[in-house]
């Protein structure tokens, strides 16, 4: 983008946009020029939202979800079951589970999964904090809801080695076939998992 025809402030915005996940140089340019095209009101609103995001949000000191108040509304909610902790990788995962309206326990956000190849180790995740919460004694069940990926499985297996000595029930999110899917088109690994986690009727 070292083009002399593009003013530095635009170049800089393009550069910044392209650091975002899922945005390549093309999309970044498109977004930058879209904001330039008369819609100064939109650009300013965006700037304000970003500032608000940085200034008003923090991590909940209990579950490490993103929040504006500490503890977060979920952790502060006394009608939820604080003896059940659901462990997720990212805040987005928490949102997805909340969307089901089927879970009334609390959460713990790890902020990532173990990935030695990308330099992410146990000390980079909120694992010590989870251990402390579970060790405090109120917790009855820890539901591991890391992603069904190789990293997610590794993280879950590691959490089990750390938590198994504590007197809590450890559970793992069930895995199997997608709803509305076709058995014939499922891959062998998914089918194997579905067979392994079949249920008594």
């Amino acid at each position: 983008m070292g083009n002399a025809a593009v003013p530095p402030s635009v170049t800089q915005l393009i550069q910044t946009f392209s650091e975002l996940p899922g945005i390549g140089p093309k999309t970044a340019s498109r977004l930058a020029f879209f904001l330039l095209r008369g819609k100064s009101e939109l650009a300013l609103r965006l700037a304000e939202s970003l500032q608000g995001l940085v200034e008003n949000t923090r991590f909940c000191s209990v579950c490490f979800n993103v929040t504006e108040q500490d503890p977060c509304p979920i952790c502060a909610n006394t009608s939820r079951d604080h003896a059940v902790i659901c462990v997720v990788e990212e805040p987005m995962d928490l949102l997805a589970l909340e969307g089901t309206n089927q879970y009334d326990g609390v959460y713990h956000v790890l902020h990532g999964a173990l990935s030695p190849l990308e330099g992410i180790f146990a000390e980079d995740l909120r694992i010590k904090e989870l251990e402390a919460r579970v060790g405090a004694g109120v917790v009855r069940e820890v539901l591991l809801a890391t992603n069904p990926t190789s990293e997610g499985d590794y993280t879950a297996a590691y959490l089990i080695t750390r938590l198994k000595a504590l007197p809590v029930r450890l559970t793992r999110l069930g895995r199997g076939l997608p709803v509305g899917g076709d058995l014939e088109y499922a891959d062998a690994i998914t089918l194997t998992r579905a067979l392994e986690s079949r249920q008594e009727l």
Binding site: G24, P116, R162
Partner: protein, 413 residues
């Protein structure tokens, strides 16, 4: 010719057409292929080997010649900024025709970098790499094959992995899981050495190594025992009964290794008695070794024990051909191995593989050349690349489809 006798019920697969786009020297190629021998003739660096490589690429899911798919792209595709390459074959099997395809395409990553994406399709449906196993089987003879005997162990491991991967999808999955766990564990070992941290992070990775590693070892042991039997018979035919050959599996981790066999001249050791060890015992023993050697592994920043350090030795006449064999002996041993692979693939899959030979005749003396050509007459499809068609007997040349390869363009000759 013992390979094909008594196997008349064999189904024989062959490649009906090949299509390449931006692959190596080929901008675009559409080629119909008949059964029987096909001779690719041309000077060096014209695209003969690349064509064989493209076919092997579809059988193995990766190139037998390079780890880097990037190298497979035609230079113009790289310069265009939108690199794309495609290899596609139609394979005729007993009761159907299948289309296999691998496409390479640049994909933008979230961090702004690009990556070469590889899509594998069978009959236009995207599949995992492991599901490619069994769709097309080949035996590839390369001029550098002799390196298998004399070169480093990694070449022999890769070769064995490629052969097993052609047939068993589960082997592909276990191998890939094993390799990922090794890379992760090694990265973690280095991190523990340089920065410290919780060693319990090693445990889940070691469990994966134990589970997949023992499976790999058992697969390799079983297949090598069969290959060794076939290779020995071919070797004796090739040497006029003068020398036996034994492919000896040297697992890096072998808790119950049988006592070292004393090879003596003239002693023919067809097969050692199989030591029956149950899987749980092997796993426990491997787990214990990994745990015992953890400190050393941390110091070294590498996993010291496991099938990623296995080897195979070519034993003949009482010694290791890799160390003590002459060039000629090594060449004969490797030819016997290739023929054994052909035989093994036939037995295991019930289908005769496609043979791909790159400049192999030049390496052989007259007797062996005749032996090999005689065998080629009996398989369904063979593609041979050569700079010198005169090397083939006139009779053979007459039966073969002759194609001239020049600058990535193929014309009938």
């Amino acid at each position: 010719m013992y390979a094909l006798s008594g196997m008349l019920q064999l189904q024989r697969m062959y490649i009906k057409s090949l299509s390449l786009r931006h692959f190596r020297t080929y901008m675009r190629l559409e080629l119909d292929l008949p059964t029987g021998p096909i001779l690719l003739m041309g000077a060096n660096a014209q695209g003969k080997t690349s064509l064989l490589e493209a076919i092997a690429y579809l059988a193995l899911g990766h190139s037998p010649l390079t780890h880097m798919d990037q190298q497979l792209l035609h230079w113009s595709a790289v310069e265009s900024g939108m690199p794309f390459a495609q290899v596609r074959v139609e394979v005729v099997k007993r009761d159907r025709v299948e289309t296999l395809e691998i496409a390479l395409q640049h994909a933008h990553l979230t961090n702004g970098n690009t990556r070469l994406d590889k899509r594998i399709r069978v009959d236009n449906r995207a599949i995992r790499r492991s599901a490619l196993s069994g769709h097309l089987n080949v035996v590839l003879f390369l001029p550098e094959d002799v390196q298998l005997v004399s070169g480093p162990p990694s070449g022999r491991r890769r070769h064995l992995d490629d052969l097993l991967s052609q047939v068993y999808p589960e082997y592909v999955d276990e191998l890939s899981e094993y390799q990922t766990a090794i890379s992760r564990r090694n990265a973690l070992l280095r991190h523990l050495r340089d920065h410290g941290g919780d060693r319990r992070q090693l445990e889940p990775l070691e469990e994966t190594l134990v589970r997949t590693g023992v499976t790999l070892t058992l697969f390799r042991r079983r297949v090598l025992a069969l290959l060794s039997l076939h290779a020995d018979r071919y070797h004796q035919e090739l040497t006029g009964g003068a020398a036996w050959l034994h492919l000896e599996y040297q697992p890096n981790f072998d808790p119950q290794a049988p006592p070292q066999v004393d090879y003596q001249m003239g002693l023919r050791l067809r097969e050692r008695p199989e030591v029956m060890v149950d899987v749980a015992t092997l796993q426990n023993s491997y787990r214990k070794t990994l745990q015992q050697r953890r400190e050393r592994a941390i110091q070294r920043g590498a996993t010291l024990t496991g099938p990623h350090r296995d080897d195979v030795t070519f034993m003949s006449g009482g010694y290791d051909l890799g160390t003590y064999g002459s060039r000629g002996q090594q060449r004969t041993a490797v030819l016997a191995l290739r023929l054994a692979e052909l035989q093994w693939l036939e037995q295991e899959t019930g289908e005769s593989p496609v043979l791909l030979l790159d400049e192999v005749l030049a390496e052989l003396d007259r007797t062996r050349r005749a032996y090999l050509l005689n065998l080629l007459g009996k398989v369904q499809q063979t593609i041979l690349a050569t700079t010198d068609a005169e090397m083939f007997p006139a009779e053979f040349r007459e039966q073969a489809l002759k194609l001239r390869v020049a600058g990535g363009i193929i014309t009938p000759s």
